[in-house]
Symmetry: C2
Subunit: 244 residues, 2 copies
């Protein structure tokens, strides 16, 4: 199933108002960490899977990437991306992540930010990413953390006074579909264990070079006190891997 | 701090009555998975960090390992290990994991089963393991899973009727000491994130070849219905890595 929730007008409207949609990468809590994990992009041919508004595509070009292809299934997302991009070296294509079919060795770097937990057949996608990377090329992906996706409710456990007691984990080993709620809409996500993310990459022919479960920086904790809760449980998992 | 809780008579007595202490590897829920991840041990020189009663040392010799060194800080554990081992190719040494100091390339395989969450300076130990392995040698370790060690209580969250509601996670990003309770004794453990385990290995010069968050097999679920709870949260993390 290829989900296109971003073309649901209500969802798109809500998504468009998120801080990261309005202010871009600097409003994304995990961006500092993701950026630090990205390889040098200068003169690289970059593919962004699930590019959304194109923030990472434009960032890659700021870092002097030679060319960038951003793909996304959502017409809404791509229309906005094109609207705010003036750069002939960035090409946006409307395409499901599952349907990519690029030639062997077409890219030096493949990125995917918070999109692969929407994909049912992770192994197929990782196989295709491996195919379209040059040997030695880098794949950097971020997903919602398995600790975060295990329970479909994706919410804290509260005490009788409405305080956040802890983050509940259950059904961790039961991989597969989760009917979650995001921005007041039903969204289908796929829960996978940490082991599955890692082993799928390794078995496909990648060497894992870095893992991150990003946490707020001291500066962020100072400026946004509610970020303290983001030290209580991992919300994202970032993996960098190099094609063997 | 090098903890030697296993030489506390009360703890040792309780530990000695655990199924895995009485019946060995076949009574350890994660053993099938750990065994499947071990490399071929034939003719290998093997080191076991935190060998306890020596079950893995004897297994290695059954697999025709050339020689095995098992180290453990506990006199009690080693006395029992020696008592139930008749094999001149297995050498037991009383030594803290933190104090290993083997020559470069002394071993082909290093194992450590459920011991490294007791070690404060993980990076030092991994450095020493790297040093004493031959290039291409394998390090296989299991630890209590970070989802399991995050909260010192290491217990389920129960509803008002005493039923297990879910596994609580909190303080995940706060790495360090946890005053836990194991077999009615206070035990010091060190909580680390999944990312820290992985990155410490990678940065020391290992390539990660396999991750496992073992879950009960269908057979085990049939035979021991209460094992169903072990599908609800990961309890162990197993990592196999090869020295670059």
């Amino acid at each position: 199933m290829k989900q296109n929730i971003y073309d649901d007008p209500n969802f798109f409207n809500n998504y468009s108002q998120m801080p990261r949609s309005v202010d871009g990468l600097k409003a994304a809590g995990e961006w500092d960490e993701l950026r630090s994990i990205l390889p040098d992009l200068q003169d690289k041919r970059v593919l962004d899977l699930g590019c959304g508004f194109g923030w990472h595509c434009r960032y890659a070009r700021e870092q002097l990437a030679r060319s960038v292809v951003g793909i996304d299934l959502s017409e809404n997302m791509l229309a906005r991306a094109k609207q705010i991009t003036e750069d002939p070296a960035i090409e946006y294509r409307q395409l499901a992540i599952e349907d990519i079919d690029f030639p062997e060795g077409e890219f030096d770097v493949v990125l995917s930010s918070l999109a692969l937990h929407y994909v049912e057949q992770l192994d197929d996608v990782i196989q295709k990413v491996h195919h379209c990377l040059v040997p030695g090329g880098t794949f950097v992906l971020s997903v919602e953390h398995p600790v975060f996706t295990a329970l479909a409710a994706q919410d804290w456990h509260y005490d009788s006074e409405g305080q956040r007691m802890h983050w509940p984990v259950d059904n961790y080993q039961d991989e597969g579909l989760r009917q979650a709620n995001f921005l007041e809409n039903d969204v289908l996500k796929y829960h996978r264990t940490v082991a599955t993310y890692m082993n799928t990459l390794i078995e496909t022919g990648f060497t894992i070079t870095k893992i991150s479960e990003p946490k707020p920086s001291a500066k962020m904790l100072d400026e946004i006190p509610e970020m303290r809760d983001e030290t209580r449980r991992p919300i994202f998992l970032i993996i960098a891997a190099v094609k063997n």
